[in-house]
């Protein structure tokens, strides 16, 4: 009971405004009371009519009675009148003489007094209806008294007072009370059901009013928590549906946004990649205007991305090339965009010629657009030229010892020689040329190993003095033949190295050999070795033809030979110094050249050295073990 009341109050207060309920209640009350009063009024009027009708008949009967007795006993008649005057619903009762004077009266004070003049209202049989003008609400029934002979004509007046009405006695109050109660109950029931019907609407209204923009995000807040009835359920279902739709829309919009963003990102990224690739991409419209050029293409054409767009291609290509690219394009289009064919073209540039390779494909079915792929093949061409140059020299260099070997071997095999001296000479030449060929092949092998980075050092202790002596000894013969003074100067303490003995021997042989090769007869070559802290420094100084300053860097490049007839006349592959540089670099050292053309050159090799103290015996042992290892390798090889 308590929670019901509370819930009623609460819900009423919450869902419907109190004044609405109150007004409705009052309205009902007024209506019910009004209706009750109307019923009372009707009942009273009915009562009045019945009373008058009864009184009328009773008046006639009284007149008959009074008329009959008055002759016999005027006192009895007077008593009768007085008694009648006391009857309920009767104001007064009297007899009036024809002279207009009360002869008897229920009020004795009025006897003998003149009767008022009545206004006649009508007549009903023997009873006349009249009214005293001074007492409007009293109907006076006037009946002529029957008169015997000799009796005076008199009238009986019976004045009707309003009929008595008692609330207490009436069951109207009882009925009215029941009706009122029933109506109140009905009202409450109606109100409650109305409230129940209106409540969801009120909540919806309140929630809607409370909802500010954006409504879309708070749609769920509009849900009714308690499902009161069908309206709430339907409303919740509607909200559910709308939020579902909203969510779907949001998701689909998000998906669209994401797709659009992804597309944008992808296209931006692809353009970025296209811009970055080192391969030139050029889109040319039919009229020849450049629609797109990536950075590489713009750079290759000597322009920039910002300036190249919209520029006519004729500004960069001469007519012949332009036509050939367009012709290629037609062929490519018929061949379904195959880009197998290319056109190479060399452009003259301030900083040197560049060679570009063009592939032309059709950018569209209609052929309105040409896409040119451009590759800078300058370096490739350069490498090609270097390779050709190398092969040219290598084959030349290989053929010379081969020619000797073949010629001398054939000479010996033909048996055309008979003197012992010449025959030995032939054998010596064959041997010498075989060694030359071997050296050459080793050089080529070394270079190819160094070039592809597969060169491996057989690291061990290297006794530099021994190594230098061996190298000088090997070259001594050729120095002597050119009458060159070859001088080796070693310090008291020769630094020890860790390195590949064989490869270091090649390095030093190349340097000293070059010195002998490019020093004219009667010159001098000094080979010195010094210890410089933790480094060993070997210098080879000659009085040879020297090297021009512009060539001093290049002589260490593979296949490079100085363009000088004094050089080209001498055998060489252009590999020696490249081998020197790479080998020294692998040992963690460096090689430099100082030279004055016509006076001579000094090559300096700096190599990291080991400390000298206490390592001599160990080195000796190691050298011996190196030797045995080499021997075992050789025997294993055999």
């Amino acid at each position: 009971m308590r929670w019901r009341l509370k819930s009623w109050v609460h819900k009423t207060g919450e869902e419907i405004a109190p004044w609405v309920g109150l007004s409705l209640g009052l309205l009902y009350l007024v209506a019910v009371v009004g209706m009750g009063l109307a019923a009372v009024h009707v009942q009273r009027a009915e009562l009045n009519a019945q009373h008058r009708s009864g009184l009328q008949r009773w008046s006639w009967w009284l007149a008959q009675n009074v008329g009959r007795v008055r002759g016999d006993s005027p006192q009895a008649a007077g008593r009768e009148i007085r008694r009648a005057g006391r009857e309920p619903g009767v104001a007064f009762c009297a007899t009036v003489s024809s002279a207009g004077v009360f002869t008897t009266h229920s009020d004795p004070a009025k006897i003998g007094k003149p009767a008022p003049k009545l206004i006649t209202d009508g007549e009903d049989g023997a009873v006349q209806l009249a009214r005293d003008p001074n007492r409007q609400n009293e109907t006076v029934f006037v009946v002529r008294l029957p008169a015997a002979k000799g009796e005076t004509a008199e009238e009986l007046w019976v004045a009707a007072a309003p009929p008595p009405f008692s609330w207490r006695n009436s069951d109207l109050v009882f009925w009215l009370g029941h009706v009122l109660l029933a109506v109140m109950i009905l009202f409450l029931i109606a109100y409650r059901s109305l409230r129940r019907a209106v409540q969801p609407l009120a909540v919806i209204r309140r929630r809607l009013m409370g909802c500010e923009q954006p409504l879309a995000d708070r749609l769920v807040a509009l849900r009714l928590n308690d499902s009161f009835d069908e309206i709430s359920t339907s409303w919740n279902r509607l909200i559910e549906f709308v939020s579902q739709m909203q969510e779907e829309l949001r998701r689909s919009r998000l998906a669209t946004d994401v797709t659009a963003a992804m597309d944008g990102y992808r296209s931006e990224r692809l353009t970025g990649i296209l811009m970055q690739i080192p391969f030139g991409v050029l889109v040319v419209e039919r009229e020849g205007a450049i629609a797109f050029a990536n950075r590489a293409a713009a750079g290759m054409l000597g322009s920039s991305v910002e300036n190249i767009e919209g520029v006519d291609i004729g500004q960069f290509f001469e007519e012949g090339l332009r036509l050939s690219l367009l012709a290629d394009n037609k062929a490519a289009r018929s061949g379904h965009g195959s880009i197998g064919r290319w056109t190479d073209h060399t452009f003259r540039r301030a900083h040197g010629d560049i060679t570009l390779r063009f592939w032309s494909v059709s950018g569209s079915e209609s052929g309105d657009e040409h896409i040119l792929f451009i590759q800078d093949v300058t370096q490739a061409k350069e490498a090609e030229r270097a390779r050709d140059h190398f092969l040219y020299h290598v084959t030349h260099e290989l053929r010379t010892p081969l020619t000797n070997i073949r010629a001398y071997a054939e000479t010996l095999s033909q048996g055309v020689l008979d003197d012992e001296q010449t025959i030995r000479e032939c054998y010596n030449v064959i041997m010498g040329e075989t060694q030359r060929l071997n050296r050459l092949v080793e050089d080529i092998l070394n270079v190819s190993q160094l070039e592809v980075g597969t060169a491996r050092l057989e690291v061990g202790a290297v006794q530099l003095d021994k190594l230098l002596r061996g190298v000088v000894q090997d070259v001594q013969g050729s120095a002597d033949s050119k009458n060159i003074d070859l001088v080796l100067s070693l310090p008291a303490k020769v630094p020890q190295l860790r390195g590949d003995k064989e490869r270091l021997a090649v390095v030093l042989t190349n340097l000293v050999g070059n010195a002998v090769k490019y020093t004219p007869s009667g010159g001098r070559i000094d080979v010195r070795c010094t210890a410089d802290g933790s480094r060993a420094r070997i210098t080879v100084t000659d009085t040879g033809i020297g090297i021009r300053p512009e060539d001093q860097e290049k002589i260490f490049e593979k296949f490079f030979r100085v363009d000088d007839e004094r050089v080209s006349a001498l055998p060489g592959t252009g590999l020696g110094l490249a081998i020197v540089k790479e080998t020294v670099r692998l040992h963690g050292g460096a090689v430099f050249v100082e030279s004055t053309p016509g006076k001579g050159s000094t090559f300096t090799v700096v190599l990291p050295s080991l400390s000298l103290e206490g390592e001599t015996t160990a080195d000796g042992g190691q050298a011996a073990s190196d030797g045995s290892a080499a021997a075992s390798t050789r025997s294993g090889g055999n």
Binding site: L391, Y392, T395, H396, R399, T400, L402, T403, N404, I405, R406, A407, Y408, E410, T411, Q414, V416, L417, T422, C426, V429, E433, E565, R566, S568, A569, L570
Partner: protein, 140 residues
């Protein structure tokens, strides 16, 4: 017997050629560069010129051009080469009426080629000169 000028910078090759030609009964004058060959030929005209292409100072083809223009040749010259651009050399030597022998060569075939050249008349300069068949000269 003929007097043959051999211009070859590789001494071993010059030596073996001289050996063979001398044994065939010819007189061989050996020089090691093009310029010396030209000077010698101007002083004393040999019957035949046998030259290498790559030589210091003046190369064999330049030498050939010069001696041809000076009318110092009585027989088609023989050119030896180890160079890769043999076709170019053959074309150029062909225009000068010379026969090209690639290195490595057979001394025997070279000797036969020398004799064939000596057997032929004076070289006809110009492009219309017919190069003698090569297969006969190339090593087996």
């Amino acid at each position: 017997m003929a007097r043959i000028m051999v211009a070859e910078d590789d001494r071993h090759i010059a030596r073996v050629i001289a050996l063979w030609l001398q044994r065939a009964g010819h007189v061989v004058i050996t020089v090691f560069d093009g310029r010396s060959a030209l000077e010698m030929m101007r002083q004393d005209r040999p019957d035949l010129l046998l030259t290498d292409v790559n030589m210091p100072g003046m190369d064999g083809l330049d030498l050939l051009e010069t001696v041809q223009s000076e009318g110092l040749l009585t027989h088609p010259a023989i050119v030896l080469t180890s160079r890769c651009d043999q076709m170019d050399i053959e074309a150029r030597a062909g225009r000068l009426g010379a026969v090209v022998h690639p290195k490595p060569f057979s001394p025997l075939h070279l000797k036969e080629a020398v004799e064939a050249a000596l057997g032929a008349g004076a070289p006809v300069g110009g492009v219309e000169f017919q190069t003698p068949p090569k297969q006969q000269l190339t090593p087996a």
